[in-house]
């Protein structure tokens, strides 16, 4: 199948290095300490953060740092074919773990000993790149909850199809079977905190594709920065400052 047309356009009309439209909204769940909706094209996820609060299960309490927990769940209607999946299947457990590790790396956990931070992500629509969208939503929700962090982690995926590096794969491109790299970075510190790839790729091409994904992450970081700034301005305005 042809994923990039001779004119250099992808199936959904994007250029190879073009990202899908981003949309973010802060404060979607009123009762959570922090929450956000993040959309990348048709992929839409909602993230809520509860905490820092008292540890619910005493045996999990850590004396010198905060306990970070994460649960990833998909709505029944999120995929094209309706499936009723049991909670806690292997895929969602793995993604929960990936998100938890990525977020834990940027939260200043030593400032909140003996407490717990819960991150819940819910996929409303899945169209490729749910992992990245979840991380971006979780970052926004953590920032909304006012949890101290080193930096705002952002994530983006990239792939390689028809000898072309492609940024931000959608579902059709993702299921094409080509290599798919998901990168998470700390943009200000310029460090990679998450790197996953499936299928094989020559080293020199890998470097190109990873560089493309990192550029994508940086673009998302700029967008997230703008959203947070706008949100803070709104808060300031409402406070009458």
């Amino acid at each position: 199948m042809e994923y990039v047309s001779p004119e250099g356009l992808r199936l959904d009309g994007r250029r190879p290095m073009e990202m899908r439209q981003l949309r973010a909204q802060i404060g979607a769940v009123a009762k959570a300490d922090g929450s956000a909706v993040f959309e990348m094209g048709n992929t839409k996820v909602i993230a809520a953060v509860y905490g820092p609060r008292e540890v619910q299960n005493r045996s999990q309490q850590i004396g010198d740092q905060a306990l970070v927990r994460c649960e990833y769940s998909m709505a029944n209607f999120s995929t094209g074919d309706r499936k009723r999946k049991p909670k806690g299947d292997r895929r969602s457990t793995e993604i929960s773990l990936v998100i938890r590790q990525t977020m834990e790396a940027c939260i200043l956990t030593h400032l909140m000993p003996r407490s717990q931070i819960d991150i819940y992500v819910q996929v409303l629509q899945a169209d490729g790149g749910t992992r990245s969208a979840c991380i971006n939503a979780a970052t926004l929700a953590l920032a909304d909850a006012g949890i101290p962090m080193h930096d705002l982690v952002t994530s983006c995926s990239a792939g390689y199809l028809n000898s072309t590096p492609l940024l931000d794969l959608n579902y059709v491109e993702d299921s094409a079977g080509g290599p798919d790299i998901t990168v998470g970075i700390l943009p200000k510190l310029d460090k990679v905190t998450l790197l996953q790839m499936d299928a094989k790729l020559p080293v020199d091409i890998f470097e190109n594709v990873m560089q493309l994904a990192i550029e994508g992450c940086k673009a998302i970081a700029t967008y997230i920065g703008e959203v947070l700034l706008e949100n803070t301005k709104q808060l300031e305005y409402r406070k009458g400052l």
């Binding site: 709505a75 999120s78 094209g80 629509q125």
Partner: protein, 287 residues
Amino acid sequence: MVGLSVGEKYFIQGGINQNLRSDGRKRDTYRPIFVETGVIPQANGSARVRIGTTEVIASVKAELGRPSALHPDKGKVAIFVDCSPVAEPTFEGRGGEDLSTELSVALQHCLLGGKSGAGAGIDPSSLVVAEGKVCWDLYIDGLIVSSDGNLLDALGAAIKAALSNTGIPRVHVTAAASGDEQPEVDISDEEFLQFDTSEVPVIVTLTKVGRHYIVDATSEEESQMSSAISFSINRKGHICGLTKRGGSGIDPSVISDMISVAQHISEQLITKLESEISAAEAGEDEL
């Protein structure tokens, strides 16, 4: 769960006794309702409903299936509700399953009628394509995104809105098969059938706190309830289903009193909801 001090409990109960609740509402006033349709493009129909800070999403998906042997002339409708941990940390893991089941069953009672499908808001015989062979199976999924009480009313409203947003492709049976063979069908990409949702009931929950009952209770008020009854009432004022929750008993005379109150409130709710739904549909067409 809601943790309330003794003072807060008195405040809530006292407010209800004086017909002035903590958020300034009267006993029989709903919080503002917002409806948005077509929120899930992958589904046949979908809607998001916000009542105050309670927020739910409902989606309708239609799949071709086989009618059951008992009712060859009827399609199937199933309702499932999922409680997302985003709404409440206690829904984590399997924590939300009890509530999910309770809500799904209550919605089935309220909206789908009896086992034969009689009295249902959605006419199951309209879902049949070829009698005994092909029918539409409707899967209605609810998702709780933000929970602040009165989930059942919100879900009922969301399902009504999602159904009025639903378009089911027209199906042509191309080759009539004989005997047990499945006929070949041709699903149209352009022609869609719409549901008549004016018969779909709305759900009104009356929550009894102390000696009085209130509509649209928040989760703080629900924590003080002794019992609650959910009435599902259609446009004609007929009761289509009824569910009681909560432990304590209610005097039968109070129940009939509650029914007449619920009927009165449902009229206002249906009018409000239908104007919101048509506004949402109009807004969607413009985009």
